[in-house]
């Protein structure tokens, strides 16, 4: 089913997949309290791609860790899943980081299998699925290669396949393309949209790139630093499949200007 189709189903009056209300997180270090995030309120439907954009230190990664169940929120309410789509935090999260973090002593295929091994899934079907995923991310033929034999972009594709191997309902991506060169990054954005639409997963995508946030997201949440809070959340109503061409449309410009304003960056029409 296409991503647009999934969104239509999700929007047809069922419970949202992620509900966050007034989420707040405070770090305590050396007797001081540091507000990491606050006022995070949003709903994400199943199959959506949520962009989480903001400057360094705005708590983007903290939100991601709370969604992964690695950090408890200090206030507010976070619900993931619904009666129809139950969510098991121990096996329904796939994570992709800024660095691919592939294990260099494992082949690409073995790297993709890691989450399946940790959860304890039957290995033969998992292996088959890993091969399929490698095909989907464009890495068929590289199954028995080692990470150092792959380029940075290819390593990140393998990391995306790894995040999908245990068929999780939620994929969390923390600036996954920030370490890539600009051209590879734009290619990976297109690839991600294709993979997302093929897999139908709900994705939360953290980035500090405003164009990237607008280009990818079905909706976009804007986080600011000092004070660390969520300043805005809005749907991005640009039809999929999206191509590089949309970046020059007035709608794209309007969305990016809206984010620049929230983040206190001057724009000519401001």
């Amino acid at each position: 089913m296409s991503a647009a189709g999934l969104r239509a189903v999700a929007a047809a009056g069922r419970e949202p997949f992620i509900r966050l209300r007034s989420i707040r997180k405070v770090y305590r270090a050396a007797g001081q309290e540091l507000l990491a995030v606050s006022d995070v309120t949003m709903t994400v439907d199943e199959g959506e791609m949520l962009s989480l954009v903001g400057p360094s230190g705005c708590g983007k990664t903290t939100v991601l860790k709370m969604l992964a169940g690695l950090l408890p929120p200090d206030g507010g309410e976070a619900v993931i899943g619904s009666a129809a789509r139950p969510f098991d935090p121990g096996r329904d999260v796939g994570m992709v980081f800024q660095q691919p973090l592939l294990l260099k002593w494992r082949t690409v295929l073995e790297n993709v299998l890691l989450p399946a091994e940790i959860i304890g899934l039957p290995i033969a079907p998992a292996r088959e699925r890993a091969r399929e995923l490698l095909r989907m991310v464009g890495l068929s033929g590289y199954e028995t290669k080692y990470p150092h034999q792959l380029s940075g972009g290819m390593q990140q594709r393998a990391a995306i396949a790894r995040a999908l191997v245990h068929d999780p309902k939620l994929i969390l991506m923390d600036e996954p393309f920030a370490a890539l060169d600009a051209l590879t990054r734009e290619q990976m954005n297109l690839e991600l949209l294709r993979i997302w639409s093929a897999s139908g997963k709900t994705i939360v995508f953290v980035t500090h790139s405003i164009p990237e946030a607008v280009f990818l997201g079905t909706q976009c949440a804007v986080l600011t630093a000092g004070p660390a809070r969520m300043a805005d959340v809005f749907p991005i109503e640009i039809a999929y499949p999206r191509t590089i061409d949309i970046m020059t449309t007035p709608a794209f410009g309007a969305y990016t200007r809206r984010i620049y304003k929230q983040l206190g960056v001057a724009t000519s029409t401001g």
Binding site: K65, A68, G69, L70, P89, G90, R91, V93, M95, F97, Q98, Q99, L101, L103, K104, W105, L114, P115, E117, I118, I119, Y146, H148, H166, D174
Partner: protein
Amino acid sequence: MKPRRAELSAGVIVGVHLAALAVWQVTCMLVDIPRYILPPPLDVIATLGLPKHDFAGNTLVTAAEIFGGYLLGIAIGVALAVLFTWSPVLMLLVMPLFVTLNMIPKVALGPLIVVWFSYGIVPNILVTFSICCFPILLTTARGLREVEPDLLDLVRSLRGSRWQLFRKIQLPGALPYVFSGMKVGAILAVAGATVGEFIASERGLGYLMIQVQSSLDTAAMLMALILLTVLGVILYGLVLGLERLVVVQDERVA
């Protein structure tokens, strides 16, 4: 292309060594150097045939000390590093003591080891062990500690166990560190066994060197030195070979 290059470099290595021996030989023939200062290499090699030196037997003894102490050093060094990783409290308590123990010049333990364990192979295995264990312990512990925090999050998000983290990520990730400790340890092990034999032995190549020194038998001393070096090269070569088998090589780093 690659095998030809390997053959070429092997040829260069052998050639350079033979050339050095030739220069040594010719120098001794052309320049009047007393034999007790620098005997020519052919004289040195000739000592191998003299039964009084028992080079075969002495080499075996020293090899047993080197390999015994070295294997013990690896086993205990790696085991302690793993133990420390599983019990940070133990590491906190014991590590400062170990750092101090590591500062002891191990060769200075020789006279004490004679008192405690008498002469022979066993005390020299202990000297060898004490000198090569610490670098292996320290590098292994460091390797086990170096886990990317994000990778830790990945395992934790899947509710992975401590054992899974250790078995799948920490231990294989630490292997290159274990080997770098083992390479340092291999060189130290040969030195440890030799010095041990200087102090507390009645057999072995180190002991032989002290014996023939009194009669200014420089050729036999040099032969012992060459055999010690060969033992070191063999040990180091075995470690390198094992590393190549066990550790996935990253060409960009190597």
